[in-house]
Amino acid sequence: MESEGKEPPPVAAAEAKAEAAGSGEFSKKMKVMAAVDESEGSLHALSWALDNLFPSSSGDSPAAASLGRLILLHVQQPLQHFMHPVGPSIYATSSVFESVRKAQEENSHHLLERAARPCSSKAPLMKTETVIAEGDPKETICQVAEKMDVDLLVVGSRGLSKIKRAILGSVSDYCAHHAKCPVLIVKPPKGNN
């Protein structure tokens, strides 16, 4: 399956020049996906991306219209996790299940709304989409990024130490190695412990 020319295949410098000349316009139309959750790190990653990846998005220059898309992805943990603390009450009524599910969905929507706010204030002319997916965060992020054929995946980083990362697992680590597209890991700002 040929991708629609979004990935540069040049090998020689001459080829690259021709490609650069021809694709100058489209290269700004980067499809960027930012993974957000409740952590400060992911919100910081998002605002960093807004500031630096779409620099000319403020103001009403005509170039702003061709800026590219920003997709905010939030991955919900599958609901089984929430049922464990409920314990042996296997007879938990479906209404409990329903209300937990609803609460979780509301939570995700609020989260995405909160994340989308800086997007609309910093880059009002840019298309921002929000996506909610369910599953294991690290795998799901990579799968959705691949499915939506994004050009760049932006993830925050908790700045965990090596041991903590091995035990707790690191979403940014996993994405860096398994995502098919380039991955940008945004570190928390210095001076924040």
């Binding site: 399956m1 040929e2 991708s3 990935e7 540069p8 040049p10 090998v11 410098a13 001459a14 690259a16 020049k17 490609e19 650069a20 694709s23 100058g24 316009e25 290269s27 700004k28 980067m30 960093w48 630096n52 620099p55 220059s61 170039a63 050009d151 760049l152 090596k162 990362r165 940014s172 680590d173 860096a176 190695h177 995502a179 098919k180 597209c181 380039p182 991955v183 940008l184 890991i185 945004v186 570190k187 210095k190």
Partner: protein, 173 residues
Amino acid sequence: MATTKVDGGAVALGKPVIAVAVDDSERSFHALRWTLLRFFSSSGAAGSTLPFKLVVVHARPTPTSIISPSATGAPDMLSVVKADLTKISSKVIDKAKETCLAHSVRDVECEVHEGDPRIVLCQAVEKHHAEILVVGSHGYGAIKRAVLGSVSDYCAHHADCNVMIVKKPKHKN
């Protein structure tokens, strides 16, 4: 330490720096080209002011990392290896400059340091206060990475700045 400035004209103060790591692999040049395409293309009429400054960093392996100094005939071999490595690294820098010019980026600073790439890259990031470090990726599996070590892994965790890992896309069916 060899530092060459390509067209060191007006270096705007306060421009955030993107550092790109290159070596003699095609992967790292793919990362450089990707960065040039996405961040340094000036398609508009007012394209003369790019938001970022590009720094290309190349780590030249030390001769002793290839030949152990205690091997027989080592001193002669070491000088031959060193000459070879110097030749390879100047080719790498030339190719990098060529690639930048092909994308109409003239204001590029190139840095070549001898040593372990992991350390060289992190030091270059500190020196230039880079905002982003761009590295290619081997695409090794977890075991190879643990055994052979991974520069992109090390940098992702230890560099002071944000790290962008650019992979060469596998051929899609």
